[in-house]
Symmetry: D2
Subunit: 498 residues, 4 copies
């Protein structure tokens, strides 16, 4: 039985232990403050706690002994008992349980990992926006259904994707807020009769608030589902961006590419340059979806109370999903940052694609007062007769005039220069100023909005970080206050550390 | 080919058409206001629009003709052309496309359906909270890992679940806000050169803002994923509540049950009373999970641009999922509202389950200053010797005194009355006041928090509704303004309606 | 409560009723044969059964009355009671339950729907293979990582995809076999004390065998999961084929396209021809995945016994998934059948893509005995110097000779004609004969294997059909046998029908 | 960039390398046999291959150098080049590619892991069947909708579940057959012009056949989806079995339990005995579902050709899912094997649950010729009047007689002894012989069928194993044959190894 648990424990040990030590310290400080634990006992416990924390921070494996299916916590508490005897060593385990401790670890860990993801995500936003700004006037074919539609710009494309990426990251930030409540004090899920002060513990750990219900505190992991939803959506957006980049870097388009350090050669085909990191991005981006399903299915039909099925099993899928999301966003940022754009090929792709016909129809509507359906039909007929963009403006104007006369049963006096301008991709781009279109000034306005929202996100991440730092410093001071007031005991503890 | 599309269209037609009419009216009003459409044309279009809207509101099928794979929109526009001729009838289709119209329909429809879900969800919260208030002092066994743990109350259980339900509904409300931006003006995804006023359209349709990027406006459906995440999580919570209710209504527990109208008899076993509506709830609650997966997978690797794969296909799974979520929450509310609680069986289940031993250990810690591990060990030894709760307090106190003396190697003078009180379930319940525990006063405090949050939700739903009503009235006035100012034309239009 | 059930019932009624009638008839025939039901009663029941079956076959709604949450079965039995009184009308409901009846309906219905899917799937295989045969020698660029790799043929591509499609359909056929056992006789899941003959019922309904355990018979729906797995995999393959077809029909490639009846124009862009049916295919192909998840999650943590959660709820997702799979395969078959291939553009795409370099390296290995890594490196160097395929063979041979001399430190005497041939795409294609490569003769061999496997599938579907027909005829004869032997009663029954 | 790839590579290295070495050896043997590789070169390569294989088998890390995003294969080939120089060391990489090698590794690895799963799965079947045999006559309440239904036996329950488990394992075995084809020779997916012999390679690696199409060989991973479907279904069944075991081990039922080594105590509640390994089983059982979704979504919309997105990314989720499935089935087997059944509590639970009423109704039908609906109604009325099973048979018979007289309007002469027997749970159990019911003889027949099918499975697993062993021995002989025939070279190679 033990063997079956070992692999899982090994991975957790390294990551979870620092949180356990932090939670433990805050709990002991609070117990002492509430008069539940004598100062002497608290001081001894905190001395061991700080010593272990120091050794763990130094990379040492302080648990050492073999794994047990009774979990990391039992192993951990053993270290205290070993050092201080059963009575003092086990004294902190009052008014709490593995259940609320596990819940607290999952919340602290999630916040830290989400902050990491958001840092990398904001970096992706930043490089995408920078590239968009650089290419706000780079004419590129706009596509719908993968067919050439109308002239657009590479910058407009990138800004559009950045909006969706931004929203997914804002979603992830909201997950962080959702998790920002301390479950400590809930014990096994039924609270306690001991006069604890959960808000004090929350404050020492940097939680904004406490969970109101002890049952909710141990039974629910909905914040993990919320976070996984954000990761799955983020992955989705990344898969779409990666798909477009791969299409446009293919030989058939040749719009963009990467230097040797980001492409790979073939083991068999000497000419190949495969940007298959994009395939890694698309693949990793799907990992949160599976994790989301395992998590939701894992919680289904489980009694609403503490359950290993939820806390230990369903609750574990989020971590590799976060790894994958971080990895995918780092890789994608690297690719966006280092892409080499071939603006000339983007421009020449538009030649004779007839993408400015909508502009021509719009011209008939706005300048000549022709009804849209008629204009649309006339231009459709025109393109049915033969090439439009490739034709000389004069000849084209004559053909279109004839078509309109027949359809409207009245003469229309078209301006050859206007027709020519309407068919010019650069001109089309410049005039698509309304409705969030690709005109450079419109894209710049979009980038300003994106920058504001990105800055808000960055500020939120920074605020969490400083909030965490302040809490850590409050905890350190509180520990010192307890230990300082217990003079002799402290020296004893200090000796033990020496 | 046409045949393959028919089933889908039939369902949509009824639901989508009113949105199309509303969007169309707002668009025409705006076009006229911006000088893109002559007043005469606008008036004629609005006259047909209002007439069709009236007939649709009256239940009439105004489209009539057979379905087409070119979609509902083409069919719809045909009605205008039929009435006003191609030139006037098709005049409104300028500076827009099926793409931004479809996006607008999905956002308006989502908001309306989410508001409906939230109304039913708030109803579920309300009946759950009312039941919790009624049973804040109803002693019930608290469970972990499905084993008796400590005395709790039915009210505490219900309040705990209500917190998770509340968060899922708050998530759904946030989805509503996410969708609250108008995509109109984006046209095919590349904006327009015509000087449209998207904010005016947004205002007439009751959207809070506009989507900044035309590409984002047609390419993204992330708000559907956000909403489906909320529904899946809500379903998950409902499955857990339903699981507990079914367990407790089973013959082995007998804590609760329902009257004849909510249970079903067996076609073969005359004695059976099956509350299998709970199984329907659990089943329906899983539908959003599958829809979420189909939606996310459906968007994967799709170019970020307008695509039927995203807008038409991936975007359709949310609707049956909403149906299922509404149905599950209505059924569950009905069951919670009408549950018959057998408080006596709840109480007698606690007899001799030894669930007050934690309280006994806590007593040793707080009253006699014994370290937790020692107290826990001593009580464990006590229960190993034989029944605890069923034993007379005097004998029990003697046994425990002997155990402690041996373990502590010093005498401890236990108070028999205190020991007896500690073992009393009612007393345990009353004293579990900390950390969000089940003490009645603690549960009442939790219910106050729940009530506040529910009221906020109800107010948000109400605000959307009134916002929608105000927009509808703004739109009606704007239509009248256009038509009123065009005297003769209006009469003509009026005649057409007569 | 009733209202909540109505929508579901309406859909089921039409589809499920014929199965209920068939099951009922077989059950009554068996009961009579085993002496459990008197011949007179059996005759009367069968008379009503045949009458109802006739009316249902004629499109009549024989149930009429409003829906009930007690389900279709109760409503259905009511028709008998109405006609024959409670005693005779309810007589057939012995040794059975709604539970085993529902299980039987789901199995019969699945087999019929899978047979339908397989017919359309085999049609897709057929048109794909026919197209592959037609293009076994149509040179096309082979891609890996979306970059040009080596010369291949359109036929080789299609044959490759057809193998995966074939396996998914074989998986679906295996699901059919898995479902081919009768659960009737299991009653509520605990069998019966009445001496029934389940094999006789199985035989009359065309089941190959019976389910051995009555509990398994009502509790399990694993055959639905198996079928949904096949559908999800099939959808996956279809999404990949549709992706490639859409890429190759894009303007950048122009390898293929469709006539006007399969593409759609734009409501705004006069030049557009969107093959967005491919996007429908890709979208519909994802529906089984969500259904699979809802089904599996829906069965999780449900007691292994009859449960509405499994039979009614989790068991319902398969039907719309089958609709979507059938629709996607029909649409895709239509597209494959009607595709217009531009072989000239396929061929010209290969110009100067340097896709024959692997062949050149192979030539150095096989003809000149040069080690592969050296050959690969030399050709890599050659392409690094400048165009290869576009260079005159003589110049190229000189350059390569020089490179090899330097690398091998010995002279190599290359044959200019051989080098020229190695670089010719047609020649590359012809010589890729090994390892299942694209040489025409190799593709033809693959198509022969595909044809054999398709014929086996078609024969299996045909065998089910005839098996079902034979069972129906056995049932009809058995009914006649019962009714015929009961002369007067039969006339009476006939009168009742008149 | 490199850093991002490291974690994945570390895990793979250990597992994948032995397969690479095996594949390499087979490839070289074949190349030599086909005259593509000179004997001298083949001998040198095989010497290094055997040496590396020996060191890897001994636990050594033969790759050593830092990871690279170009993958394990490049690193691996580097070892040859280092030893034999570029020309000889790289000579084997002809007529192949990383693509077909990766495909071969995934197939070989899947077969080995599935064989492992099947061994543990068959062990679970075995202990379940053994427990069922032991409890074929242990009367237990049969449940539907979690309410007491009819008397059954624990053995009948276990046999029922075992059927579903068996089918899932048979599905997994079919996945193994699906994967049993060699993709080698496909090279990059476009075959080769070199006259290779793929059947020879297949034979040396123990594959039953070759993949016919080179494109299919590298592009498809459908066998992973098939296997994950089986694992997800297996997990589903295990979750249901674990749910029932946990319900029945709860204090409210007390039907079963486990010894101290399989339950866990609470860190806070001294009386608790939590069988939470069941919660681990249920949790781990959901992991394949998420993996299945990530795999299917990961393959969606990927061009049908070699792609890292499919081969590297989507293809990796199966391995941790297999770990979880193996772990869950081992844990569950341990729990089933060591369960302690309290037959007395199972029996006493049936007291006065009125579960024999169906039998009483059946008695009225079969012995007294009363129509089922009438009998069912009469017994329903009887139970409505008051307790049935608890009443003295004589009084009961009188009550029932009166009810029947009123309903039938004729006297019925009931036999008191028969009525009494019908209400006896043991008697009910014994007589439920039909339709796969729980009568001991019926359960024994079911167990015989299960044993046969389990033996077939065990034999299949054993056959794979011996097939693999034979292939390994063929490969070893072939290697020796090549090296033996090249005398001097071999000694040289031997020296290199010394």
């Amino acid at each position: 039985l033990e063997l079956l648990y070992e692999p899982q424990l090994a991975g957790d040990r390294r990551v979870v232990l620092p949180y356990l030590l932090e939670i433990d310290a805050a709990h002991v400080v609070m117990l002492e403050g509430c008069g539940i634990l004598p100062r002497r006992v608290a001081t001894e416990l905190l001395a061991v706690n700080r010593e272990l924390a120091g050794r763990v921070a130094g990379g040492e494996d302080v648990l050492g002994s073999p794994a047990s299916h009774r979990g990391l916590y039992t192993l951990y508490e053993g270290r205290y008992v070993e050092r201080l005897g059963a009575e003092t060593g086990g004294a902190a385990h009052v008014a709490r349980s593995r259940n609320d401790i596990n819940a607290a670890v999952s919340r602290l860990r999630l916040r830290d990992r989400l902050a990491e993801l958001l840092r990398h995500g904001c970096r992706l936003l930043e490089v995408t926006a920078a590239l968009a700004a650089q290419h706000a006037s780079t004419v590129m074919c706009g596509f719908t259904h993968q067919q050439p539609a109308q002239p657009s710009s590479f910058g407009h494309y990138l800004a559009g994707v950045a909006f969706e990426l931004t929203r997914s990251l804002e979603w992830a930030a909201a997950s962080c807020d959702l998790a920002d409540r301390s479950p400590l004090g809930a014990a096994a899920g039924l609270g306690t009769a001991l006069p604890v002060d959960p808000r004090r513990v929350a404050d020492l750990l940097g939680f904004a608030e406490v969970v109101e219900s002890s049952l909710d505190a141990v039974a629910s992991r909905d914040y993990l589902v919320h976070a996984l939803g954000a990761l799955a959506m983020l992955g989705n957006s990344m898969s779409r961006l990666a798909t477009d980049l791969q299409t446009w870097s293919s030989a058939a388009y040749g719009f963009l590419g990467w230097g040797d350090e980001l492409v790979s050669t073939s083991s068999i085909m000497p000419q190949k340059r495969n940007a298959y990191v994009l395939e890694n991005v698309r693949g990793e981006a799907m990992e949160p979806l599976g994790a989301l399903v395992s998590t939701l299915a894992g919680m289904k039909n489980v009694p609403f109370a503490n359950s290993v099925e939820v806390s230990g099993e369903a609750g574990k899928h989020v971590w590799p999903a976060l790894d994958a999301a971080v990895s995918a966003s780092r890789l994608l940022a690297l690719l966006v940052e280092n892409v080499q754009v071939d603006a000339a090929r983007m421009r020449s792709f538009l030649d004779d694609r007839e993408t400015s016909l909508t502009a021509l129809a719009d011209l008939l509507v706005t300048r000549y007062g022709i009804a849209f359906r008629t204009a649309h039909g006339a231009v459709g007929e025109l393109v049915g007769e033969g090439p439009v963009e490739a034709a000389p403006p004069a000849a084209l104007t004559r053909r279109l005039t004839a078509i309109l006369r027949r359809r409207l049963e009245r003469p229309v006096d078209l301006d050859e220069v206007g027709v020519g301008r309407a068919l010019d991709p650069e001109e089309c781009l410049r005039s698509a100023r309304y409705g969030g279109g690709p005109a450079p000034e419109s894209v710049k306005a979009q980038l300003r909005v994106l920058a504001e929202r990105r800055e808000v996100l960055v500020a939120r991440v920074e605020a969490w970080r400083s909030h965490r730092r302040e809490a850590a410093s409050r905890l350190a001071q509180a520990i010192e206050a307890v230990r300082g007031e217990a003079g002799e005991v402290r020296e004893e503890g200090g000796a033990a550390r020496g």
